[in-house]
């Protein structure tokens, strides 16, 4: 094997230029493959992040529903008749999660969970002179929210922690703040749905990139919201769970729904569409990358065919002196793999550099306040796939010429002189 490798190397050296060009073909293919996938995936991740960062893997909440035990159905139970009358409305249903403490303590014991954040949402009116702007007040635990939902990335001015540290403070969605003419440090007034009024100090702006959403949102600490609503410290409307494995979300959501006797929705159900775009972009990247590699494969095929044609004498003499057809085949496969591997390693390197270069190009958009340059991904999986695929292509590109070489009849060559 070592001997065959040294023969392969000698043949390669004799055809240095062509071998180099063939290797550059592979390098080019791999570079493009890596850069393209890195770039596409970076964009995908960013776009997914818009949803994923804000969407809990499993959201536990309480849906306002009509009581399923209507009096009329009690009365009709013994008969087979169907009733059309519904009279008891949902007036007394509550929006908070019952026994939230018990749920939280059971969640912290579940080791499939990365963490959770508590939330308390309530509609509210922001008062601008005599006009009221409808919106939402979100009581959040800043630390949890920063840790699991990248809250910090979306607070474009001010410090998120201030809503915890400064009493009666609020972070407003940027467009909402602009509408209210509220600068940081100003006081604004809100009215709850019960009609209570409250003064809050603006400590920051929030910008998620989705303007319609930002127009209506505001954030305070959980305690502040509870105080505004006049509720106790257990009063929560949402528990947002982040899982270690997002794929388990549907199972776990179903489980919680039963276990806690409340509602739970998983991210896959909440955002069914977001995966489609990702898939299409991935398919495009792989298709382009693989096409480039196949083209590179033809380059190798060509150089090997040429080499075999030129090295007929060498092949004949190797066979005459005791190298078998298989040995000859191996020599040419080694040549092809060497070209492939060298080209591939260079390609991986250049691909990495190219990806890095893309990541330094400025990319500013209002919708994405946290992003200053093009997003890229350095997922090692792409490098692995590129490596495997270039090995397969070069092996196949080498296989056919090598097979031809192994079948060369030395008698014909020696006689033909």
């Amino acid at each position: 094997m070592k001997l065959l490798a040294s023969i392969a190397l000698a043949l390669l050296q004799a055809r240095r230029k062509q071998s180099l060009i063939a290797a550059i073909g592979v390098t080019f293919g791999i570079t493009m493959f890596i850069a393209l996938l890195g770039f596409m995936t970076g964009l995908n991740k960013m776009l997914d992040g818009l949803i994923l960062n804000r969407t809990p893997h499993v959201r536990i909440y309480k849906e306002v529903t009509v009581n399923p035990n209507q009096p009329i159905s009690q009365w009709l139970r013994s008969t087979n008749n169907y009733h059309f009358i519904e009279s008891v409305k949902a007036s007394n249903s509550r929006v908070e999660i019952l026994k939230s403490n018990e749920i939280l303590s059971s969640l912290s014991k579940d080791n499939r969970i990365l963490g959770y954040s508590r939330k308390l949402s309530s509609p509210a009116f922001f008062n601008l002179g005599s006009i009221d702007i409808a919106g939402f007040l979100n009581g959040i635990d800043v630390e949890e929210e920063v840790k699991y939902y990248k809250f910090k990335d979306y607070v474009t001015s001010g410090k998120p922690i201030d809503i915890k540290n400064v009493p009666n403070s609020i972070i407003l969605g940027k467009p909402l703040a602009e509408k209210l003419l509220a600068e940081i440090g100003d006081n604004i007034q809100i009215t709850t749905s019960m009609g209570d009024r409250f003064q809050l100090k603006v400590v920051g702006y929030y910008q998620s990139g989705i303007a319609d959403f930002d127009k209506t949102q505001s954030f305070t600490s959980i305690a502040t919201t509870q105080k505004i609503l006049g509720k106790g410290p257990d009063y929560l409307t949402d528990i947002q769970v982040k899982l270690k494995d997002i794929l388990l979300a549907p199972t776990i959501a179903g489980e919680y729904q039963k276990k806690f006797n409340t509602n739970a929705i998983d991210i896959q159900r909440a955002n069914a569409q977001f995966e489609t775009g990702t898939k299409v972009r991935n398919i495009i990247s792989y298709a382009v990358g693989i096409t480039l590699l196949i083209v590179a494969g033809f380059g190798i095929y060509n150089i090997l065919n040429m080499m075999i044609y030129e090295k007929m004498d060498t092949i004949a003499i190797l066979k005459a002196t005791g190298f078998s057809g298989n040995d000859v085949k191996l020599v040419f496969i080694i040549i092809s793999l060497t070209i492939g591997i060298v080209g591939c390693i260079a390609g991986l390197l250049f691909g990495f550099l190219f990806t890095f270069f893309i990541s330094t190009i400025p990319f500013n958009t209002d919708a994405l306040p946290t992003i200053k340059t093009y997003p890229v991904s350095y997922n090692p999986f792409f490098y692995f796939i590129a490596f495997c695929f270039s090995l397969i292509t070069t092996f196949l590109a080498g296989w056919f010429p090598a097979n031809k070489a192994s079948k060369i009849d030395p008698v014909e060559i020696i006689r033909g002189k």
Partner: protein, 226 residues
């Protein structure tokens, strides 16, 4: 001293392209250990064809071929390659060295393939063979940078490297001038005399043939003298 090295029984060979031609017709030949045999005959009588069959490179023929008392026709390609590697040394009319390698590496290659000795040992032996042929000073030259006569001697050294049972040559002096032919012939003679090397050499040169132990003569695909 009559151990059989090579035995061919009723070898018949046809070429079908363009028309059916019987190139070899029931050829029988025996070579014993230590014999220096020359194979002569008019151009086109089938000498090369016979030699390619005897050397196991051509596998399409009728009849039986024994090398070292083993039947060759029952072996597959890889086994035959091994037989060539171990038991047969070749010298062709055209030198057929590998220009990608040095002279020394050219001589070493068949031994590296055989893998009987360590690479250091093989190198040592290769230098010995080059010394025997008086060309050890060329060892590190590239195979493409030496003269035709020198190339042919390198080819002989290569044929010798595995101490083969028999050396076969197809007009090894056919492409050389008188002086170089003489050197090559003397080398063969020395191998036969001093090292008891078995040789089967195809030649046109009757002067050459007369100095060998035995002459086998062919005509129209048949042996007419042996």
């Amino acid at each position: 001293m009559s151990t059989n090295v090579l035995k061919a029984i009723n070898i018949t060979k046809h070429f079908y392209d363009p028309i059916d031609v019987k190139v070899l017709d029931n050829v029988n030949i025996d070579v014993n250990r230590g014999e220096f045999v020359s194979l002569v005959g008019k151009s086109g009588c089938g000498k090369s064809t016979l030699l390619y069959i005897l050397s196991t490179m051509d596998r399409v023929y009728e009849g039986q071929l024994f090398i070292d008392n083993e039947l060759m026709s029952s072996k597959n390609g890889a086994d035959l390659a091994h037989v060539r590697n171990e038991k047969i040394g070749f010298v062709f009319q055209f030198h057929y060295l590998l220009n990608e390698f040095s002279v020394l590496k050219n001589v070493m290659l068949p031994a590296l393939k055989l893998n009987r000795f360590s690479p250091e040992e093989i190198e040592h032996r290769a230098i010995q063979k080059l010394e025997l042929l008086g060309i050890n000073k060329l060892a590190l030259r590239n195979a493409g940078q030496i003269s035709g006569g020198e190339k042919q001697r390198v080819a002989i050294a290569r044929a010798l490297i595995n101490d083969p049972l028999i050396i076969m040559g197809d007009e090894p002096t056919g492409n050389l001038d008188l002086r170089n032919s003489q050197i090559v012939f003397d080398t063969f003679k020395q191998l036969a005399e001093e090292f008891n090397q078995t040789l089967l050499i195809v030649t046109h040169d009757l002067g050459f043939a007369e100095k060998t132990h035995r002459i086998v003569e062919m005509e129209d695909g048949k042996i007419i003298r042996s």
